[in-house]
């Protein structure tokens, strides 16, 4: 049985074969994880579809098209065959693979290019060094261009004119970015360059929510098996505020403004591989404990590499909690085409003035980054004040339904 790079999502055409957990010749059982695959959105484990002896034909670290055969499981053999460890070799080329030279093959491995994506210009389709240069040029041309020359000058990284040394002792180390990290960096840079991003701040007194949580936590946990976290309150508060300020939930598409009559809320979760933002679909229909459980489910899936692309697609608004890392104040970056993102922060006891008295209250700074092209300052500030209000007086959420 062949092992192939699976379909992992509509927009995903290639994946990085990040790591083999097994060696060629290993006996594997059904459903045992074989390798880890990384796309520009998620990482996931590929499990064995059958029991047998594994043959590996693709080297880890290569980027491969969806559907590429990376190995096979010989089901006829179930007993441990002699696991003769032979180092990875280029398998004898098949008829369909165009001819290449050793330097071209190494260049393709380095660039993560498969022979199939190159049109060889040489005799009988031979891939020449010039063909690779041309492909590189095309890839560069097709990459999204930043909008204005002014911002390019300000933010484009300086161009390297010579190759850096590959290995510079233990003081520096150089690794290529994983597809996920590359995608994150592209998206973040695009968000800065292609939107008119601005951030407004406020703060909220969390006394009521804190006492609510401590009063009902046990009861809630027993009844729903969820810990009554802070995040569900913010999701609820944002949805109510979004209903009052629909443009904050809208997006720009070309010259049109697209309003969304649903609330798909992205919740940013930090992971080892980077920030991942799974989406709570139709969050306005979810109860507090359902939101709690959904978030816990996402965290679990991220840890076990089982997050699906569908968990990440879409989203109309995002909440990012920098507070879990202890951040006091920060400006979140938009996740286009969304128009706004709420940043939560650490809760700190601070001296505040209430009714002419200095009192100590558990306070949290709130930051709303928004695309000024579509949201006016008045709306942004109004939205954030509304969120503050619901957080400070959670019973209002009840009154709003």
């Amino acid at each position: 049985m062949d092992i192939k790079i699976p379909e992992v999502g509509e927009s995903v055409r290639e994946a990085l074969l990040a790591k083999w957990f097994k060696k060629s010749g290993d006996v594997v059982t059904r459903d045992e994880p074989l390798c880890e695959i990384e796309t520009d959105k998620i990482t996931l484990d590929l499990n064995a579809d059958a029991a047998g002896v594994l043959t590996i034909t693709a080297v880890e670290g290569t980027t491969l098209a969806v559907g590429t055969v990376i190995g096979a499981i010989d089901e006829s053999v179930t007993v441990a065959a002699t696991p003769s460890v032979v180092p990875a070799a280029d398998k004898g080329e098949q008829g369909a693979v165009p001819p290449t030279s050793p330097s071209v093959r190494r260049e393709m491995r380095e660039q993560g290019i498969t022979p199939q994506e190159v049109t060889g210009s040489g005799r009988e389709g031979r891939i020449t060094p010039d063909d690779l240069l041309r492909l590189k040029g095309e890839k560069a041309k097709n990459a999204p261009l930043p909008p204005t020359t002014a911002t390019i000058a300000a933010t484009a990284p300086s161009v390297r004119t010579e190759d850096p040394p590959i290995y510079t002792s233990s003081r520096d180390e150089r690794h290529p970015m994983t597809p996920l990290r590359k995608r994150i960096s592209e998206r973040l840079l695009a968000a800065r360059q292609q939107t008119a991003m601005l951030t407004t701040f406020n703060d909220a007194d969390l006394s009521r929510i804190k006492s609510l949580r401590s009063t009902y936590r046990e009861h809630f946990l027993q009844r729903h098996g969820a810990p009554l976290g802070l995040m569900p309150f913010f999701v609820k508060a944002c949805i109510e505020a979004l209903k009052e300020f629909p443009l904050v939930n809208a997006s720009i598409d070309g010259d049109d403004i697209v309003s969304h009559h649903y609330y798909d809320i992205g919740v940013a979760i930090g992971s080892e591989k980077g920030l991942i933002v799974p989406i709570l679909r139709d969050a306005d229909h979810l109860k507090l404990f359902e939101i709690d459980k959904a978030i816990a489910g996402f965290s679990e899936k991220i840890k076990s590499n089982r997050l699906a692309i569908s968990d990440l697609e879409g989203g109309t608004f995002t909440i990012s909690n920098g507070g879990v890392y202890g951040s006091m104040l920060s400006t979140p970056i938009l996740n286009p085409p969304q128009s706004a993102v709420l940043g939560m922060h650490a809760i700190q006891d601070r001296a505040v003035v209430q009714d002419g008295q200095i009192v100590i209250r558990p306070m949290m700074y709130l930051a709303l980054s928004y695309d000024h092209r579509i949201i006016d300052g008045r709306e942004a500030v109004g939205f954030l004040k509304k969120v503050k209000e619901y957080i400070e007086n959670p019973e209002e959420l009840l009154l709003e339904g």
Partner: protein, 472 residues
Amino acid sequence: MSEETLFDLIVIGAGPGGYVAAIRGAQLGMKVAIVEKRATPGGVCLNEGCIPSKALLDSSELFSLARDKFALHGITVDAPALDLAKMMSRKADVVKKLTDGITFLLKKNGIERYEGVALLKGASTAGQQQVAVEMPGGTALIAAAKVILATGSDAAGLPGIPFDGQLVVSAREALSFITVPEHLIVAGGGVIGLELGSVWRRLGARVTVIEMLPQLLPTMDRQATEQLYRSLRKQGIQFKLGTRITGLVKNGDRGTVQFDSGNGTEELECDKLLVAVGRRPVTGGVGLETVGVRLTETGRVAIDEEYQTSVPGIYAIGDLVAGPMLAHKASEEGVVCVERMAGMKSLVEYNIIPGVVYTWPEAASVGQSEEQLKEGGVAYRSGRFNFAALGRARCMDESEGFVKILADQESDRVLGVHIVGPRASDLIAEAVAVMSFTGTARDIGLTCHAHPTLSEAMREAALDLHKEAIHA
């Protein structure tokens, strides 16, 4: 014992795998140490293998030419006299020049040399692999995040007939006999046995090769080995194939070898028995057991695609790991292992590693044999050209042998090339290059070859594959 000295990379063994890995590591910016128990670098290859044997093969070839071929070319000389001591000292000179060259290269690349026996000490708490080097002046403790084992191999013996350095010898001694043996029996019809058998045959010894298998060089293409067998027999080397050596009776400095070809025990007297039945990896004395480096069933060191052993941070290359025991294979692995450490996507292309037998005529091959293709059910075409029909070979009076090219029936990709003939060792380079470039037999046929050269045989064989040979 002073405090340990820290490196980025420690290479154990300065043979063709180790010293190449060390230099490549230094080129990539690593701080490298190399440990070698010999006084000179270069390993078996340089000190008692490839290089000294080629020095003697070239000397003895000249001797036999003067004796047997000069007259044919119209050169009349008195029968040449052999000054074996001189021949040996020239050989030693060649070895010294080359080992000195490597000493210089190591120094030039800033590689720290430790002359002594290395012992793996396991990982420190900081994750560094520690190595103790026992040197005449005491023990040095060095450590690095990465250690490459490149300790190579040594000669395997015959069961019940241990090496004694006098009568029963390995290649090491057979490269330094002080007199020409009267009768040299060679146990093993492999590369080493045939090469050293050729040396002493040319210098006047009677030579008998006893091989257990029914065929010489079993992994090579059958047609090639049969051609070589005929040529060597013509030179007077005697062969007993399918024959097992059962015992040795010593009497003084001579011995009687007992063997069985299937018709009961027979005997042959000799004054030297060269045992060249194979080599085994040197896995003892390095501390592999203590740190937990796992071996395969065949006794080689088990490694993964990064050449990393079962112990993270410890790597192995060359004769220690699976594959043919060849100097150039070890060097390739050394380079690739270190480049992969540095994050480069290097690979050893194991299917295109050439192999050479330096007899005369020489035999060289790359890729698959006709037998392997048949067994694998591959549809192939074969093209062949005999040196007897080649102008340059005729001029040299070296007309034995042929070039054979095997290519995929459909794609015409070259799958294997087998050469027996003059300078096959150099001619094979073209085949390796073409195969590396995934070239076809047509590619060779369409490439202009200078006339008159031996390389024309390659082109004619490629043309013959499509039944278009001009000179056949």
